[in-house]
Symmetry: C2
Subunit: 424 residues, 2 copies
């Protein structure tokens, strides 16, 4: 297999290292040799490595000898155009590009099918975890009923470190940036957008459905405080940024896709997935609850997924993508769903405040499963509650009403609670 490598940064060099170090193993497994014929770089002088370099993508895209393109530039353009050109000229494509795949998966699969080549993107979700392969093959006997993913290493690292280091978000973020676990501009990760892209890909493959970014609710971890992590722990939960995709059997099998910080019971397998690790928990109608865990980023784990796609192409040169039957999802918006909520209020600690608040919640159809009040300082107290399953709309109304109360001193903190079934 003659490979053209678009992008020779961290991940590109990881791929080259794997192809080099594990060469004899790969040949044993596929009866093929894998050669990077040329790699695209921005600046030849700055680049180093043992493969021939070029600064002109056409050197690679027009090379008839190259049968497979690996795209690890990232970002939407020019990556998308390169991928389209490659597929159109009969080259297989392996990509780690979540933005491109989240937005153009079906178009690109269709283009690949037309040109009798393949496009594969295992590395675009969950780093080294072979979750897409598991969904298309290992769990393929199953109707997937729900999936829950910790899909962003940066936010999982930050949430874990907040708890272990007992420090607030801004300081942990700074440390993470120093250690290379967060980007200089971390917005994409922190805001939940990165996780949303990955959920679109994952759920697309799992449920054979087309999802647009607008169809999906996402929320980041910017407002999670150490205090909430502590209270959650006291109540038996960990806070994780969770991607959720679910068929609502009792709502005409409509689907819900959402990303938000979530209180997960500590007994659930996902609660134990820490630091830069990613995990996907899948519930299938035959296999039951199953989980895959691994490193969600990094040159070698990402490279592992890219090279496994190369091996798949080598072993199954004629396999066809199974996206032909993908349809637009019938969706519930988040306001049509119900959740349990964690609610933290800072209140003036005067007689009758608690009664007033619980009465107001009750009037707004918000019923409580757990509640405790704790003195904060001389005049203020904190009230922490876990609600029963409440319609999002009712919760929103209740918060609106609460904020009118003069006793409420700060904007209430609201985090959803999820995964009440213990998993295992």
């Amino acid at each position: 297999m003659k490979i053209g490598l678009l992008g020779f940064g961290n991940v590109g060099q990881g791929i080259a290292a794997i192809l080099n170090e594990n060469a004899s193993l790969l040949t044993k497994r596929t009866h093929l040799t894998f050669t990077i014929k040329k790699a695209l770089v921005r600046n030849i002088e700055k680049s180093q490595g043992s493969v021939p370099l070029t600064t002109d993508a056409n050197d690679i895209l027009n090379d008839a000898e190259i049968d497979t393109i690996i795209e690890v530039i990232g970002g939407e353009e020019p990556a998308l155009s390169y991928i389209k050109t490659a597929l159109s000229s009969g080259k297989n494509v392996v990509t780690a590009n979540k933005a491109v795949i989240a937005k153009h998966r079906t178009t690109l699969l269709e283009l690949a099918r037309k040109n009798k080549v393949q496009i594969r993107f295992e590395a675009s979700v969950g780093g080294g975890i072979p979750i897409l392969q598991a969904l298309t093959m290992g769990y393929a006997a199953n109707q997937i009923q729900s999936l829950y993913g910790i899909l962003n290493g940066t936010t999982n690292y930050i949430l874990t470190q907040m708890e272990t280091e007992q420090k607030e978000y801004p300081q942990i973020l700074k440390n993470a940036q120093k250690l290379g676990f967060a980007e200089a501009d971390p917005t994409m990760d922190i805001s939940g957008l990165d996780t949303a892209y990955k959920l679109i890909i994952l759920a697309g493959v799992a449920f054979h459905t087309v999802i647009n970014l607008d169809d999906l609710y996402y929320e980041g971890i910017e407002n999670i405080t150490l205090k909430d992590i502590h209270f959650a722990k006291e109540l038996g939960y960990k806070i994780k940024l969770l991607a959720i995709g679910k068929i609502m059997q009792n709502q005409n099998s409509k689907m819900i896709f959402k990303v938000h910080p979530t209180l997960i019971p500590t007994s659930h397998a996902l609660a134990g997935v820490n630091n830069e690790f990613n995990a996907v928990f899948v519930e299938g109608n035959a296999v039951g609850g199953s989980m895959m865990v691994g490193k969600g980023a990094g040159a070698l784990p990402t490279g592992s997924a890219v090279v496994s796609d190369l091996i798949h192409i080598a072993l199954n040169p004629n396999s066809e993508p199974d996206c032909a039957s993908d349809t637009q999802a019938k969706l519930l918006s988040i306001s049509q769903t119900s959740s349990q909520f964690y609610l933290r209020l800072t209140v003036e600690d005067i007689l009758g405040t608690l009664e007033k608040i619980t009465a107001l919640l009750s009037q707004n159809k918000v019923s409580l499963a757990k509640l405790f009040q704790r003195e904060k300082d001389k005049n203020t107290a904190e009230i922490v509650m876990i609600t029963h399953l409440i319609q999002e709309e009712h919760m929103k109304n209740a918060i609106g009403e609460l904020m009118k109360l003069p006793q409420i001193k700060e904007v209430p903190t609201l985090i959803r609670v999820g995964l009440d079934e213990a998993g295992y």
Copy 2:
């Protein structure tokens, strides 16, 4: 795909149910329909179900219309003969039979290759977990360095329940038998033999190696007591029956394969895998530490794996098994390896006993990482120790010497400690 089903018990009926319930999904994924043309049963009157039945295997094996055989009879014969006949007459085979595959994997793969058909056996290890597929494809870019598996649901259920129910092994076993989590004759599970078979299959695929049962050390959970579970917990460990396969980089890359009860640090992912769940933790040279978890047994999880094999055959009708290069493993025997050990002694509680014991251990090159002594009753005490890494031979000698001491009141309890790296 026209299927002949050998065995129509619990698992066979689970497979039929999946093929029936998920029929439209399976057709969507493969553009094929899956029909069970006939199922082999022992006794037609006793059987029930919606598929045509026969008591004569030849009715199925000689049916030219049947292209794929599913074997879920279990046990070595007649299953092995049926499988050989099927492959020789050009039929694909999917089997859940661990004994047959552990002993005859390479022979059967070779026979399949000769006849241009496939034999697949995902369900023979880890129930619904698609671990063999992950090893041959998802992690295929990696040199696997080690694998650790909880591969037997019965023993994992028993060990978990001993802790949660605070009861000794015999009583928990009885409950497990009532609930269907243990067989009437549980020897195969309890003794570690079932896990050993599965390790042979798993490690064979992961390391491209042929392993015989005699090459492998295995030990069961019969002697684990509630007391040891408690002491282990106090020291920060869980006791699990662990299958271990490892390349010893510092010993000429020789391999070690073994199955034994193991103290696993509670911080390790495998420590959280409870009850009937199975898990495989894999370390690859690119992907790093990765884990897959799921139900290890049961009609539907096993059926999920069997049907995923059917789907693989449907989608890749010409794929060839990659076993041609499998070689006999260069092995270390367990006596050539080192372990940390948990050692519990019941001693006469007289002045100087502890000093005597630690001196004797030290003379036998057994050094200690942790130790505590606890009064048992008026005249006896229990000493619990965790050793450093000790050669198995030295440990054996030390135990021999210890047993000569008159102060030692019971046969010492010795359990290996494993997985000191925290994983995640």
